[in-house]
């Protein structure tokens, strides 16, 4: 059997086991999740369980459907078909409840360059209904945790990309969420900045669920315990990181459907 076909079939083979997973052990559950943009099917009938308190890697080439999946999880988009639950709540039904439980670090640092770091973090805390001493403590907490003390009073627009990414991480953790979604956290960073951000992500392992979306295989190998690979909106592999990425043909999982688009 062609290795790509085998990999494509593996999620199907795993489904009975996946469906039997207890609800409290699952941070994100997608069933038949599809999303269409006009004639383009960005996500095609995705079935996926992301276990709680694990660092889970969502891999795929550009345009594979990773960001669409994230946007469906955050409630920013509605699915065309199927369902998704985040911490047991549907973002389609109650997006506010989902957003209370998650932190989101976007693909590129989408911040307000005209604001100072501290002011921006105060805004993010305030938007999450933190106030007074609780807000001050939360802002101070993330500033210390993400080593932002030297730049706390500087304008975000004047910071290096590495610091901007730390600010982006800090805003996602300000309300201490049980689930954090991190989309391409090291894209566009130099090797030193990349290493620093990866170190920060490593320090989060085990304490909460982290969904890490990346197309960097090395990053996924070093930071995640389980991975799923998307290709052209479909799940083509899912399992322990060492098993999925340890296979000799791992790269073919990223390319197979590109050559033969269906």
């Amino acid at each position: 059997m062609d290795p790509t076909e085998a990999a494509t079939q593996s999620p199907e083979a795993q489904r009975p086991q996946t469906q039997s997973t207890k609800a409290q052990d699952v941070a994100i559950r997608a069933r038949g999740l599809s999303r269409r943009f006009g004639s383009h099917l960005a996500l095609d009938g995705l079935d996926l369980d992301i276990p709680a308190r694990a660092t889970f890697g969502l891999l795929g080439a550009n345009g594979a459907g990773k960001t669409t999946f994230i946007r469906l999880c955050t409630g920013f988009l509605l699915p065309s078909a199927g369902s998704v639950e985040v911490q047991g709540v549907s973002p389609c039904v109650d997006p506010a409840a989902v957003q209370r439980k998650l932190g989101f670090v976007m693909e590129t640092s989408r911040l307000y360059p005209e604001l100072k770091v501290e002011g921006f973090l105060r805004f993010c805390g305030g938007a999450r209904d933190l106030a007074g001493a609780e807000l001050r403590s939360a802002v101070q907490g993330v500033i210390e945790r993400f080593h932002l003390e030297p730049v706390a009073r500087r304008l975000i627009g004047n910071l290096s990309k590495g610091y901007q990414q730390r600010v982006s991480l800090a805003q996602a953790f300000i309300h201490d969420p049980p689930l954090v979604i991190v989309d391409e956290p090291t894209g566009g960073l130099d090797p030193v900045q990349k290493h620093e951000v990866q170190q920060l992500l490593r320090s989060l392992q085990g304490e909460r669920t982290v969904l890490l979306c990346t197309h960097d295989l090395h990053e996924a190998e070093t930071l995640t315990s389980r991975v799923a690979i998307l290709n052209a909106g479909r799940l083509v592999a899912e399992g322990k990181t060492s098993e999925v990425l340890g296979r000799g043909d791992a790269l073919s999982l990223f390319e197979s459907n590109r050559r033969n688009p269906s």
Binding site: T74, F76, P95, Q99, R100, F123, C124, G126, A127
Partner: protein
């Protein structure tokens, strides 16, 4: 409130806001003093021609401070607002989309309704400040000229409601696009189309003409300029704001389903 504070900080943290306030004060002062100069000149010519000297008893009733200065200045100011306000509102939602920060706002637990309300509040507040700045010169001078404070208050209310009405149109246009240029141009187009429909009277039936006039901005504003504060005009501007708020809120839903 967090978003209101953040947007105010962003607005007044950049020179654009101060530039806009300075420009509006400057242009209003220029228009006002030019009309005042013309009025003084007219006054001088009339009195010297008829009497050979200054005798205010001979000045025709039509040459007065209200008709010759204040009223045309308010008309110019109203039209100027239609041109200037879409330049202020164009960035409000469109810039968030271009930067991708609209997604950040949504995922920080701010609902679309809270986002829209905050954006409208900040824009309305800035426009009110702009109006206050532009109104200072005419008000101070005209109050000295014997126009009642009640009348001036009605004019200011009309000007403010017109500005908020144009801002509402501009905000809706900004909510439906990620291009600031498209937001500004569509804001101008809608505001100018809604400005006055009297040109259409010759082409349509009386019923349609009345309907179009009911939709137009200028006749409402003109009533306030004459010192008339009517409930119908207040309801008109309130309805305009409500429709704009609902449409801006709807733009978020539209984006969620990916239209």
């Amino acid at each position: 409130m967090a978003l209101v504070r953040k947007d105010l900080a962003s607005l007044f943290g950049a020179p654009t806001a101060y530039l806009a306030l300075t420009m509006i004060a400057l242009v209003t002062a220029l228009i006002f003093f030019d009309h005042l100069r013309q009025y003084n000149l007219m006054l001088f010519l009339v009195t010297t021609n008829t009497m050979g000297g200054f005798d205010f008893g001979t000045i025709p009733e039509t040459i007065n401070l209200w008709d010759r200065v204040f009223s045309p200045v308010m008309d110019s100011l109203g039209l100027m607002l239609v041109g200037a306000i879409p330049l202020i509102t164009m960035r409000v939602f469109a810039e968030e989309r271009v930067r991708g920060t609209d997604e950040l706002l949504i995922t920080t637990h701010l609902t679309p309704t809270r986002i829209v309300l905050a954006k409208f509040t900040v824009t309305y507040a800035f426009v009110a400040l702009m109006m206050a700045v532009s109104f200072v010169y005419p008000m101070a001078a005209i109050e000295q000229g014997g126009v009642g404070i009640e009348h001036l208050a009605a004019v200011f209310m009309g000007l403010l409601l017109l500005a908020w009405g144009v801002a509402s149109i501009g905000l809706v246009c900004s909510a439906f696009t990620s291009s600031q240029l498209v937001a500004a141009v569509s804001g101008w187009a809608v505001a100018f189309v809604l400005w006055d429909f009297s040109w259409a009277n010759a082409f349509v039936s009386d019923e349609i003409a009345r309907f179009l006039e009911a939709l137009a901005l200028y006749p409402r504003f003109a009533a306030f300029s004459e010192g008339i504060v009517s409930l119908a005009n207040l309801v008109y501007f309130a309805a305009l704001a409500l429709v704009a708020l609902s449409l801006a809120r709807f733009s978020f839903d539209l984006r969620r389903v990916g239209a």
